[in-house]
Structures are given as structure tokens and as C-alpha cells.
């Protein structure tokens, strides 16, 4: 395979693209708005995660407050992460990548901000619903039903702007990142509407609703969020090293295998599903190693012997570690699909650990790589990125994921002895919960430093615009 495609310079142009600075400026308001809104929700999610982890250490903590039960806090943590942070961050990265790689100006930047306001309203309604005890028991769809139409309307408004921008692109050739963004934008409404129309329907009863919830929940994480994170890594690694992507063919291979096998991962632990559901899911989860290794080889071949200057940049560090977490999450998920390990770690903290490797590790680091790359460009000013953001996010994501995985193995090993009282099995997780708490604290401090740095940067940016110095 030979080098073929560079993110910024596709092989052919259909029309003259506007200057890059003008493209970036067109996305400024929408990207900054979505970034700030998303990181704010990430903080809420992390605080909920911190308090719920502390409750595992001290069960009596806030036990008299119904809104703060462990169940409601974990539901809040998950839902706010998926819809408050991850989805809005994915939207910010998507529109910027479409504009950059399509060589076109953003269509409807103001409309996207309006859609984000509606989206945030939906997240607030959903979060309050969970705290009030109106949440649903479906993982990744724990917001009460009344929040779903608000989120869907907001997404439709956003998607219309994104698709119009995509349609007005000046570059005819599409770089691999655009395929992933395109797939993500299309998969989200299909998955979301399938889940919303069925999970609360009186027609769908019994075991059907958990099957649909598991399918849709995993699709939401893998096909919506995972696709955008892959788009970011496919863009950043070649871009930051000034190289062309090693192999276009390998990227095509990885893309199609990812969207095919990504449809049915992570559903194999539930014992109450029909056997074919678990069987198909085990195969798909294992086969996801193929796109993971294909992408890893492609990225490694692209960035090997990279020059030192690029590697020092924060965005490159974030994206590289995001890629490492992607591999780790894929390998851990595949191991969990092996019968012997599935028996050992079934229903333990292992499964949330794999989930956090993907979400807190792969998604968060990759998307923050894109955010650190976008901010100086959309504002047209260099910014001194807070260094602790990288350290705190990397160490925090690592500690939370590893703490959960090790806690899962400890729990599974203890539970393997059927004579051991289950209370001892549950208590075997306690030392690892300590690691998870430290992880959440690091993540929180990291995001606070990022928000403080971004607020300063935005103030300077706004004063430039208001003062007419731009």
C-alpha cells in the first residue's frame, strides 16, 4: 500500500474552496458554544460519578435523600455523559470536520446554536426526571420518555444544517474521516427513533424491550460516538505529522467492518436474551478486533518516525492516547466475549470498565484532541492550553477504567467460589473503588482547568470581535 490521502489536500477539487481561515471562522460560534456546553455537562457527569463511587465506600452517605440513590446517580452520570457531553462534543467535531474536509463554509451556524439550546433543554428535563425518579431502566436511554422528543427535534435541526453543509462541499473526494462523520450523523437518528418508538410502546413487552435497549444502547456508543471519535483520530494523526494517511484501502476495510460488526456488540452478557442474540453479539464483539487492528496499523504506519515538534502538541497527544484506548477497549471487549472470561466476569464491574475504556478513554481523549486542534483555529488566536487538562484526563480515564476492570476481575474471582457469601464478593470491589474515586477527582480537576483556560481564551476572542480588531 502506498501513501494516498492527506486530510487537508484531497486529490481533486470540484470547485474553488474558500480560504481555510474563513472556513474556520464560519464555525467559530457554533463550535465554541457546543464545546463549552458539552464540557459543562461532562463536569456534571463526573461529579455524579464521583459521588456514586463514594457511596460504594460509604453506603450511608446521603442515604436519606431519594434523589441521590446510587441507582439514580449512576443513571444521571451515564445519561449526562452520553447526551450532555459526548453527543454535543460529537456535533462540534462533526460540523468542523465537514467544513474543513469539504472545503466549505458552515451553513446555519446560528441555527445550530438554537438547536443546541433545545438539546440542552432536553438534557435538563431528562436529568431532573432521573433525579425525581422518573428515569427508565434502559442503559443509555435512562432519560424519561418526555425528554426524547425534545432531543430528537434538536438533533433534526442540527442535522439539517450539517447535511446542507455536507451537500455544499467543494471537495468531491471524501477523506475517511468524512465517511465516519457521515455514518455517525445518519446512524444516530435511526437508532434514537427506533429506541424511542419501541422502548416505551405498550406493544413491545417482556424481554423484547431489553433486547432493543441493548442493541440501541450499544449502537449509540459504537456507531454514533465511536464513529466521530474515529473520524477525529483519522484526521488528526496524519494532519499533525504532516503525512498522508498510510493506506486508503485499509481505511475502507476498517470503515465497513466497523459499521457492519458495530451493529451488535456488547449484548452477550445478558442471560435472559434468546441464545441467538448472545451468539451474534459475541461474534460481532470479537470481529471488531479486525477494524481496530486495521486502523491501528494504518495510524502507526502513518505516524511512525514522527517529528518531535508535532508529537509535542497537545492535540496529537490526546489523539494518540485515544487510539491506544481504542485498541485497549476493543481487546478487552473481545476477551469478555470468550466463554471462559465471560463466565468469570459476567455481571461484575468488568463490563462498565470496558464501557469506560471506550467512552472516557477512546472517545473523550480523541474528541479533546480535535477540540484542542480546533480552538486556536476557529478563534484565529494561539491559546495556551492548560497542560493539566491532558494529564488529568488521561490519568483519570485510565484509573477509572483500570479500577473498574480490576474490580470486575476481583469480584469474578471471589464469586467463582459459590460457597463465599455474596456480601464478601461485593466488598471485594472496595479497594478498586478507591482507585476509581481518585480517577474521577483527576478528571474533574482536568476539566475545570480546561474550562478556565477556555473561558479566558473566549473573553479575549470576544473582545477582539467587539473591539473590531479582527
Amino acid at each position: 500500500m502506498t501513501a494516498s490521502v492527506l486530510p487537508s489536500t484531497p486529490a481533486a477539487s470540484c470547485a474553488v474552496r474558500p480560504p481555510t481561515a474563513q472556513i474556520d471562522a464560519s464555525t467559530r460560534a457554533a463550535v465554541l458554544w457546543l464545546t463549552i456546553a458539552s464540557v459543562k455537562w461532562l463536569l456534571v457527569s463526573l461529579v455524579a460519578g464521583l459521588v456514586s463511587s463514594m457511596k460504594l465506600h460509604m453506603p450511608a452517605l446521603a442515604a436519606g435523600i431519594p434523589a441521590l440513590t446510587y441507582g439514580r446517580l449512576t443513571a444521571l452520570q451515564d445519561s449526562v455523559f452520553i447526551y450532555g457531553f459526548a453527543s454535543q462534543a460529537a456535533m462540534a467535531v462533526s460540523i468542523w470536520l465537514i467544513c474543513r474536509l469539504g472545503g466549505t463554509l458552515l451553513v446555519g451556524g446560528g441555527v445550530i446554536i438554537v438547536s443546541s439550546i433545545i438539546w440542552n433543554l432536553g438534557v435538563v428535563v431528562g436529568s431532573l426526571g432521573i433525579l425525581a425518579g422518573n428515569g427508565s431502566p434502559f442503559e443509555h436511554f435512562q432519560f424519561p420518555h418526555n425528554a426524547m422528543p425534545i432531543l430528537f427535534v434538536a438533533y433534526c435541526v442540527f442535522a439539517i444544517c450539517a447535511i446542507l453543509t455536507f451537500a455544499s462541499r467543494k471537495e468531491c473526494n471524501t477523506y475517511p474521516s468524512l465517511w465516519f462523520v457521515f455514518a455517525a450523523l445518519i446512524f444516530f437518528p435511526w437508532i434514537f427513533i427506533s429506541a424511542s418508538m419501541t422502548l416505551w410502546s405498550p406493544i413491545v413487552r417482556g424481554s423484547t424491550s431489553p433486547v432493543i435497549a441493548a442493541w440501541a444502547g450499544n449502537g449509540l456508543v459504537t456507531l454514533w460516538l465511536g464513529s466521530v471519535a474515529l473520524a477525529a483520530v483519522y484526521y488528526l494523526l496524519p494532519k499533525m505529522t504532516g503525512r498522508s494517511l498510510f493506506s486508503y484501502g485499509l481505511a475502507v476495510f476498517a470503515f465497513w467492518l466497523y459499521v457492519i460488526f458495530g451493529q451488535a456488540t456488547g449484548m452477550h452478557f445478558t442471560a435472559a436474551f434468546p441464545a441467538w442474540v448472545s451468539g451474534v453479539s459475541e461474534v460481532c464483539t470479537f470481529m471488531m478486533l479486525l477494524p481496530a487492528f486495521a486502523s491501528a496499523y494504518n495510524w502507526y504506519s502513518t505516524v511512525k518516525d514522527k517529528n518531535a515538534k508535532s508529537s509535542a502538541e497537545l492535540a496529537f497527544k490526546f489523539a494518540s492516547w485515544g487510539a491506544v484506548f481504542y485498541m485497549a477497549a476493543s481487546i478487552a471487549a473481545a476477551l469478555g466475549a470468550l466463554p471462559a472470561i465471560k463466565r468469570l466476569v459476567g455481571f461484575t464491574l468488568f463490563q462498565p470498565g470496558v464501557s469506560q475504556l471506550f467512552l472516557l478513554g477512546f472517545f473523550t481523549l480523541s474528541v479533546f484532541g480535535a477540540v484542542h486542534y480546533m480552538i486556536p483555529r476557529v478563534t484565529g488566536m494561539e491559546w495556551k492550553a492548560p497542560a493539566f487538562h491532558f494529564i488529568g484526563t488521561l490519568a483519570g480515564a485510565g484509573l477509572v477504567s483500570v479500577g473498574l476492570l480490576l474490580g470486575g476481575f476481583a469480584q469474578g474471582s471471589k464469586a467463582a467460589n459459590a460457597a463465599a457469601p455474596y456480601v464478601d464478593v461485593a466488598r471485594s470491589t472496595v479497594p478498586f473503588v478507591g482507585i476509581i474515586i481518585i480517577g474521577f477527582l483527576l478528571l474533574i480537576v482536568g476539566q475545570l482547568s480546561f474550562l478556565a483556560g477556555l473561558a479566558r481564551h473566549c473573553c479575549v476572542c470576544c473582545s477582539k470581535c467587539i473591539g473590531g480588531n479582527r
Binding site: 450511608a60 431502566p137 455514518a183 435472559a272
Partner: protein
């Protein structure tokens, strides 16, 4: 060449196949389930939960109990749940056919509850456990749910539970507390089904607010 239309068609095809399999096919397969009538005893399983137990399912959902407790007993190849005494057989889709939605859970920070109504049929045990888990399980890491009880002075005529460190008050279950315990007692997956063998009976619990027949009924003569 503009490959976006080809990508769109490919994505539509992959999504349609998975949608057809996991949404349409699941519904087609599982919606056809019907309660099983034992040809010898004429006992039907599952039967609907009582109204108060169904209210309790809502309390169970609202508190987020499924974050720590599963309601699924794995077959022997996948775990030692049966050996642990959590059920006499593994659970199957039929067990959940009358629940909307079933609250299966995915992590066990506490024991499985699929069959807790048969394992622990004492209503007072559950009230005492909810009020102060350590009173029943010394090393328990479950938080107390005291807000599911009304605190009243001893001598006020109210009958309820007392705590050793708080002898001047009695704790009377609220409607939510009663409903939750009714739901817990209704969690029994020891009915006969085709799909899972039933090696031995596990309980002599009487029939109450439950979705399973009482064990004593299983030897009744065929009608």
C-alpha cells in the same frame, strides 16, 4: 467521484439488516410467547403480579435498584448462580413476558433478585432489611432506605419496626415501602417452563403476591 450515495446505501443496508434482526425479529419471536400451562397440574406460569406488586415495580425502577441487583439466573455453563441457591433453574424469556419493562440489570453489587420471593419469603425480613440492611446482613454494603418508612413515637399506637439505637420510635412502612416489598416477594422464577429444566424445588413459600405458583400446588392432581 462522489461516493456519498454509495456510502449512504451501504449504511442503510447494514442498519436495515441489524434493525430487522434485533428489533423486528425479536418482537416477532418474543411477542408470541404465551404462559405455560402444566399438562399434569394445570398450573399456569407466569401469572400477572398483583396491583400492589406492580406499583412496587415502579418503586424499584424509581430507586434505581437495578443498578446493583440483576434479575437473571445464568445457566450452569455461564455461572454458578444455581449452585449459589439463587434459583432452581436458569431464567428464560418466558419469566419476563408479563413485565413492562423487565428490570434485568447488568451489574451485581448485591445478590441477584430473580427468585428472592422464593428464597426469602418473610415480609418482615424485607422491611427490617430495607430499614437497616446491617441488621440482617452484618457486612452489608446496601444503603438504608429509611425514607420508605414513617417515623412515629412509641406509644402513638402505630405498629412498626424499631431500631436498637433508636428505641423511642417505631418505623411504619409507607405505601411505597409496602409496594416495594410486595414486588420483591412476587419475584419468583420457580414456575415450570419448557425451555429450562427444573432439577429440584427450592422453596415451600406460600403463594402470595407472586407471579409463580406455590410449591405446594405442584403436586396437585390433574383436573
Amino acid at each position: 467521484m462522489n461516493i456519498a450515495p454509495f456510502i449512504f446505501v451501504g449504511l442503510l443496508a447494514t442498519f436495515s439488516i441489524s434493525w430487522f434482526g434485533f428489533v423486528f425479529r425479536s418482537q416477532a419471536q418474543l411477542s408470541k410467547l404465551e404462559p405455560f400451562k402444566d399438562p399434569i397440574t394445570s398450573v399456569v406460569y407466569p401469572i400477572a403480579r398483583s396491583g400492589v406488586a406492580m406499583q412496587g415495580a415502579e418503586v424499584y425502577r424509581a430507586q434505581g435498584c437495578a443498578a446493583c441487583h440483576t434479575q437473571q439466573v445464568r445457566p450452569k455453563e455461564l455461572g454458578n448462580d444455581i449452585e449459589r441457591g439463587w434459583g432452581s433453574r436458569f431464567t428464560v424469556a418466558t419469566d419476563y413476558m408479563l413485565d413492562n419493562p423487565p428490570q434485568l440489570g447488568s451489574v451485581r453489587l448485591g445478590p441477584d433478585l430473580a427468585n428472592v420471593g422464593a428464597r426469602l419469603p418473610d415480609v418482615n425480613w424485607h422491611y427490617a432489611h430495607l430499614l437497616d440492611p446491617k441488621s440482617k446482613v452484618e457486612k452489608s454494603n446496601m444503603p438504608p432506605y429509611a425514607y420508605l418508612f414513617q417515623k412515629k413515637k412509641v406509644g402513638s399506637g402505630a405498629a412498626g419496626l424499631t431500631l436498637p439505637n433508636d428505641p423511642n420510635f417505631v418505623y411504619v412502612p409507607t405505601d411505597e415501602g409496602r409496594a416495594l416489598v410486595a414486588y420483591l416477594l412476587s419475584l419468583r422464577t420457580d414456575g415450570t417452563v419448557f425451555e429450562a429444566p427444573m432439577p429440584r424445588p427450592t422453596t415451600n413459600a406460600p403463594a402470595g403476591d407472586t407471579n409463580a405458583p406455590a410449591a405446594t400446588a405442584t403436586n396437585a392432581p390433574a383436573k
